[in-house]
Every structure is written in C-alpha cells, then in structure tokens.
C-alpha cells in the first residue's frame, strides 16, 4: 500500500473517543509503515484496546480519521467494508474461538462466508493455516479441549487464514508461560518476515516487546506521548516510560 507516495500501511489522525463524560483518547496520531511492528505500552484502562477497536471498526471514533488501503475506516461504502475487514486481522485477548464449533469449523467459518471456499481447497487452506502455527494435529478438537497457549495460536491461525495485511494483537501473550509466550512472539516475527504483515501489538509483556518491536509507543493521558525503538524507550529519561521496563 502506498499512501501519498510513502510506504505507510495505516494512518491514525487525531482520533478522539469518549465514553459518556470520560475522555479516553484525546487526539491519537500514529503512522505504521508496511511490515513494521509497533508495540503500544500504557497503563491498564487507558484506552489501548479502544485504539485497536477503532481501527477495526468495532468502535467509532468521536473525531479524527483512520486510513488504511486508501479507505477511511469509518466512511466505508457497502462494497468497501468486507474488503477492508478482510485486509485487517484482529487477535483477541482471549482468542475468541467459537466454542460451539470445532477448530476446523472455526477456521472454515470466515473462508466459507467471505470467500466461498468449498471442498478440498477449503481443507487445504485450513490445514496450511494450522501448520503455520504448528497445530495441524488439533484440527478436529473442540476449543474446550485445547490449552490457553494453543487457543491463542489457533486464534492467530484463524486471523491469518484471510491473509490480512495488517494484524492487530490485543495482549497476545497475556496469561501464557514464558516458553509459549516466546513461541507466539516468534510467530509474530515469522509473519513479518514471510508475509510482510504490519503489526500493532498491545502488550505488557516486555520480553515479547523486546523480541518483536520495531517501534514502541507509550500511551498516556489519551495521547501517544513518547515513541522510539525498544532500546531508546528502555533507556528513556522519563520516569513513566522507564516504569514499564524497570522491574527492580
């Protein structure tokens, strides 16, 4: 995607969002380059997930613009909406697998309804997506039969199956042990390298951020108030920013 002659995949311009009298976002600006991985840090309840939900269209910003693929996410035509949704994937914090469907049906669901895949082609696509997260053996299990880490990886496979160009991760490693957390981080890196996917990740998992981030942005008081590379942020003079990295 080439936006205004640059290699920008996603542009957030002065986005604000309030819930009643509570102003959560007070003018968020961000540009994500193609194949860039941006990690958003911020205290709990400060609106990190709200930003992702505004990007994907689950929430509507009160003002501002979110532009991707030459489309403003909140002024989409009926024809543009499915194209936009297909190009942006979202990995939910809890995985959000459909618990009444098997893993196979979970992955088939978006393909059948969005792409009209059938028969062998459908099965091949599902197996290939599961293989990319190392879980093809779980294809006929129910979500209740797999562990939390496996659930996250399967949810990632479901996100990948529509081959999105941008993936939004809402705390992808929360609640996982360090080994599974590292596996998920490595998957994110693999996606970037192999598919040139742009990623925006909300996490409190600093080892994960260290592994995956090209850029770290810090959300405070409804705006992105600092940004830089991981090492720049880690050695920041700002006490608030350092608070995310200092565990002593």
């Amino acid at each position: 995607m080439n936006m205004n002659g640059t290699d920008i995949a996603l542009k957030i311009e002065n986005v604000t969002k309030a819930f009643g009298s509570l102003k959560i976002l007070k003018g968020v600006n961000l540009e994500a380059k193609k194949a860039e991985t941006i990690v958003i840090l911020g205290r709990s309840g400060t609106g990190k997930s709200v930003i992702l939900k505004c990007i994907i269209g689950l929430l509507t910003p009160d003002s501002g613009k979110i532009i991707a693929f030459g489309m403003d996410s909140h002024n989409l035509t009926k024809e543009q909406r499915p194209i936009f949704r297909k190009k942006i994937g979202y990995l939910f914090q809890g995985g959000a697998l459909y618990d009444s469907m098997s893993i196979r049906e979970n992955l088939e669901f978006p393909l059948i309804r969005q792409e009209d895949y059938q028969g062998e082609l459908l099965t091949d696509k599902v197996i290939s997506a599961l293989r990319s997260v190392g879980l093809e053996s779980a294809i006929d299990k129910m979500p209740s039969e797999v562990s939390g880490g496996m659930m996250k990886r399967i949810a990632l496979a479901r996100t990948l199956i529509l081959e999105p160009e941008i993936i939004l991760y809402d705390e992808p490693t929360t609640g996982l042990d360090p080994f599974t957390s590292k596996e998920i981080s490595e998957l994110i890196i693999k996606l970037k390298e192999e598919r040139k996917v742009t990623s925006i990740i909300i996490t409190h998992d600093i080892p994960c951020a260290r592994l995956v981030a090209d850029r770290v942005v810090v959300l405070k008081d409804g705006i992105f108030f600092k940004q830089g590379t991981f090492s720049e942020m880690e050695s920041s003079d700002d006490e608030f920013v350092r608070g995310f990295f200092d565990f002593k």
Partner: protein, 273 residues
C-alpha cells in the same frame, strides 16, 4: 420523566436483585427497553430478507430448538391432558355430562392451555438458552470476532434463531396438543373404559376451524416473541460474566410476559371474528 410509584419501583428493584434480572425500574427505562426491542425487530426484518440466506444454520437451529424440546414438551402435554381430564370428570358427572369430557378437553387444550403452557415451557427452555448462548458469545468477544472477519454475525446468529423459534414452536404445540389428548384418553379410561376411535371422534366433534386456526396462528407470534427477546437480551448483554445470567433470566421473564400479553390480544381479536 416521571417514575413508577415508589412501591412498584422498590418491588422491581428487589426482583432484579433477587432473581438476577434487568427489568426496567422507571418509565424512562421501560420506554427505552421497548424501543430497543422494536429496533432489534426492525433490524431482524431488514436482514432476514437480504441474501445470502443461512438455510443450513436455520435448519441446524430448528433441529436444536425443536427436536431437542420434544421430550419436555411431550411430557408437559401429557400431564396437561391427563390432569385436566381427571379434574373435569367429577364436575361434568354432577351435571350428567360425562360424555362431553373429550370435547371439553379438546377445546380447552387446543384453544388455550396447549399453546400457552407449551409456549411458557418453550420460553423457559429456549428463551433462556438463546439469551445465555449469545450473552456468553458477547462476553467472550466471539460476536466481535465474527464482526471483524466480515461474517455478518447478526444474520448468522440472530436471524436464524428467530426464524427457527418462530417456525418450530407451532409444530411443538401441535405435538403437545396431540399428546395432551392422548393423556386425556388414558385419564378417561381410568374411570370408565372408552374406545380410542370413539374418544377422538367425540373430541373432534366439538372442534371448529375457529378453535384450531387462530390458536395455531398465535403460536407463530409466541415463537417470534420468544426468539426475539432471547436474542435481544443475549446480543445486548453487557461485558462481564454476570451479564450472561442476567440475559438468560431476563429473557425468560420478558418472553413469558410477552406470551401472555400476545395471548390476551389474540383472544380479544378472535372474539371479534
């Protein structure tokens, strides 16, 4: 906006707290809730007639809602017919009208008791089930996940369930009515032996189209109301696990109330014909 009188308000607040409900506690909230249900119904009609249609899911839901309710509805129907007959025999005997028992039971069951009791049982089982299922999907972000993958969850989850509920309840009521008549036959035979053919001939001799057709038509409205309320409560459930229970309980209470209100209106309309 004016509030309901304080006594009524306190009763509703206590009910909400005791039974885990979200019933409106002010006139303003009542109007808001009613408006939301109407908007939900409008969205249903808008999306139900637009292709592509989810026939497979509607069929699956019909099986799940209808077929799996057969035992419960059957037992209820049998008990209704059996007890109603046993209760009626002594009274009709006093007037020397014991021969009218089959037709009296048939009229009572087919016109009123069968449809209403079956629908209330259906509201308890299916209304709460739909409310809890969709509420749980809302809480665990499964509906959001469908939304972001562009799969139109309203059509897939809501339209199919309301259609299934609307079209399976009348079939279940017919089934319950037949079982109730069978229950009546067994009850009649406890006091004095009666031939099955004679029982059914006697039962149907007292029935006219006006007993059967309006009673069947109203069950479509019952089914629609139960599906609509269950889906509305689940779809609009708040975040948090507690809201799943609230959605299920409120769905049962409101849909049961709607069954009774629709029945009252149906009886009034039928009496004008």
């Amino acid at each position: 906006m004016s509030k309901i009188s304080n006594t009524n308000l306190n009763v509703i607040v206590k009910l909400n707290s005791a039974f885990n409900l979200s019933l409106p506690v002010s006139v303003e909230e009542f109007l808001e809730k009613t408006g939301k249900i109407f908007l939900f119904a409008k969205r249903f009609f808008t999306e139900a007639f637009l292709p592509p249609f989810d026939f497979r899911e509607a069929y699956k839901q019909s099986f799940s809602i209808g077929y799996k309710s057969l035992p419960l509805i059957g037992i209820t129907g049998f008990i209704i017919g059996f007890t109603l007959t046993l209760q009626s025999i002594p009274t009709l005997n006093k007037f020397g009208a014991a021969s009218l028992v089959p037709s009296m039971v048939a009229v009572a069951v087919l016109r009123e008791i069968g449809p209403v009791i079956s629908s209330l049982i259906f509201a308890g089982k299916i209304g709460s089930g739909i409310g809890a299922e969709l509420g749980s999907m809302r809480v665990t972000e499964q509906i959001d996940a469908m939304e972001v993958s562009g799969t139109r969850p309203f059509r897939y989850l809501v339209v199919t369930r309301i259609i299934a509920s609307t079209f399976t309840l009348p079939l279940l009521v017919i089934y319950a009515d037949l079982i109730a008549l069978l229950g009546g036959f067994i009850a009649v035979n406890i006091s004095s032996p009666m031939n099955l053919n004679l029982y059914f001939m006697s039962a149907f001799s007292g029935l006219g189209f006006m007993d059967v057709i309006p009673a069947t038509i109203k069950t479509y409205f019952f089914g629609f109301a139960i599906g609509l309320v269950g889906c509305n409560e689940g779809w609009n459930a708040a975040r948090g696990t507690e809201s799943v229970g609230i959605a299920a309980n409120t769905a049962v209470v409101i849909s049961s109330l709607m069954v009774i209100i629709i029945d009252m209106l149906a009886v009034q309309i039928t009496s004008l014909l």
